[in-house]
Structure formats: C-alpha cells, structure tokens
C-alpha cells in the first residue's frame, strides 16, 4: 500500500473513533440521572472526540494549513467547554435543580453554609469590603432566599 493510502485509512479510523466518542457523549446525556452528571457526559467525551476528528481530518487532507486551523478550533473548544459546564452546574446547584442525595461530596454547599454562618454570627461590625468572596456568596445566598432579586 502506498503511504497516501495508509494515511487515508488511518484518518478514516480516527474519524470513526471520534464519531464514536461523540456518540458516547450523546448516550451519556440521555442515560445519566441528573443535570450534574449529564454535564460531565456532555463536555468531556465530546471534546476528546473533536480532537480525534481533528487528527482524522488532518491525516486525510494532509495540508499544514488545515492542521493549524483545526488545532485552533480544538483549542477554542477546550477553552470554552469548561466555561459552559461551570456556569450550568453553578446555576443547577443554586437553583436547587439537583438532588443533593445523588452526590457523595458537596463542597459548594459546605462553603455556602460556612460563609452564611460567618455572615450571621461575626460580621455585624465588619465592613462589607473586608471579605469580598464570602460577602458576595452571602449576598447571593440571601438573594436566593429572597427569591432571586439581586
């Protein structure tokens, strides 16, 4: 077999593997029990599948400009997938759209409870700017209790 034919077949195999990972992501989104686990299934395998599709297209087309463009696309996807996952999971946690019994560890709830206790007990005389992170969390938690008006 010529070198081109070998690279064509390898590229097709990478494409098939990448499509399989995208299928795995879709199956995970359908089958997992709640929002948080579906978010895991939606972000991780689909980015990896895109990397494999990148390799497959590069091997098939054999053009360095294509490789540069696709590397940029995959880098953008890697940078933006955590942003969307983080925002979705934060909204799900704050909105109570998630059954906390599904989790073994819930660090955000512990942090919120700790900072709320801190706000209630010791910070009556403190300036609001002293602990901006805990203050913001406390304000947001208070706004959530008030019904969403911030």
């Amino acid at each position: 077999m010529t070198r081109e034919a070998v690279m064509d077949v390898l590229g097709a195999l990478f494409l098939a593997l990448g499509a399989f990972f995208c299928l795995a992501a879709a199956v995970g989104v359908v089958r997992f029990p709640d929002v948080m686990t579906r978010m895991h299934a939606a972000t991780k395998p689909s980015v990896f599948g895109l990397i494999l599709v990148l390799l497959g297209v590069t091997l098939t087309l054999r053009d360095p400009k294509v490789f540069t463009l696709l590397t940029l696309a995959v880098l953008m996807q890697i940078m933006t997938a955590p942003v969307s996952g983080h925002l979705v999971s934060r909204t799900a946690h704050r909105g109570g759209l998630w059954d906390a019994d599904h989790a073994i560890i819930d660090e955000l709830a512990d942090d919120n409870a700790g900072s709320a206790a801190e706000q209630a007990s010791g910070s009556a005389g403190q300036a609001p700017g002293q602990d901006p992170v805990a203050g913001a969390e406390g304000q947001d938690a208070q706004a959530d209790r008030d019904g969403g008006r911030r």
């Binding site: 879709a26 689909s46 599709v53 696309a73 996807q77 925002l87």
Partner: protein, 105 residues
C-alpha cells in the same frame, strides 16, 4: 476508507437523534441546553467528516466559528435562569403532575 467514514457519519446521526430526544424530554432547561451543546459538537464533527469525504478544506472555517461561539447558548441560558425559586416552582409543579398521572394509571 469510504465505508469507515460512512459508519462514522451514521454514528453521528444517531448521536444527534439522541441529543434531540434529551432536548425534548429534559425536565429542566439546563438539561436541554447541555444537549444542545452536545449537538453543536456533533455538528462540528460532521463538518470535519464532510471535509474529509470531499477532499477540500472549504468548509473548515465553519468548524472554527462554531467552536468559538457554540458555548454561548449554555452561558446565556444559565445566566437567564436568574430566579431559582421560579424554576423550582415550575419543576415541582411538573413533578406533581407527573406523579398525578402515574397515580391515575
């Protein structure tokens, strides 16, 4: 090689149908927008497969543009769900209706 790429395209079609099901059936808007994000990823992969099948790199800037702005849907929906109590109210009402239906049958 064409057979393998056709199998890959068929797998992507099944993945798209599965994400469509989750967009229809997701109990919360977050489920729907997560599935739409996966659908954008499936579209990006299928643009790559089309480029590999046709042998030209003409369609690849679409892939770049989609990967740049494909996440804005999830960000927008997650920010627009600003009132957690309202979403919770709707969710609980629909849950109660679902339980009512299952009690009737």
């Amino acid at each position: 090689m064409t057979v393998i790429i056709t199998v890959a395209a068929a797998m992507l079609a099944v993945a798209a149908a599965l994400t469509l099901w989750r967009i229809v059936a997701g109990p919360t808007p977050l489920d729907r927008i997560i599935a739409a994000d996966v659908l954008v990823g499936v579209v990006i992969a299928s643009v790559g497969i089309t480029a590999a099948l046709s042998g030209t790199a003409t369609g690849l800037p679409i892939l770049l543009g989609l990967s740049l702005i494909g996440f804005t849907g999830a960000v927008g929906v997650a920010r627009l769900i600003a009132s957690p109590t309202a979403v919770r109210r709707v969710f609980d009402r629909r849950q109660a209706l679902r339980e009512e239906d299952s009690d009737d049958t």
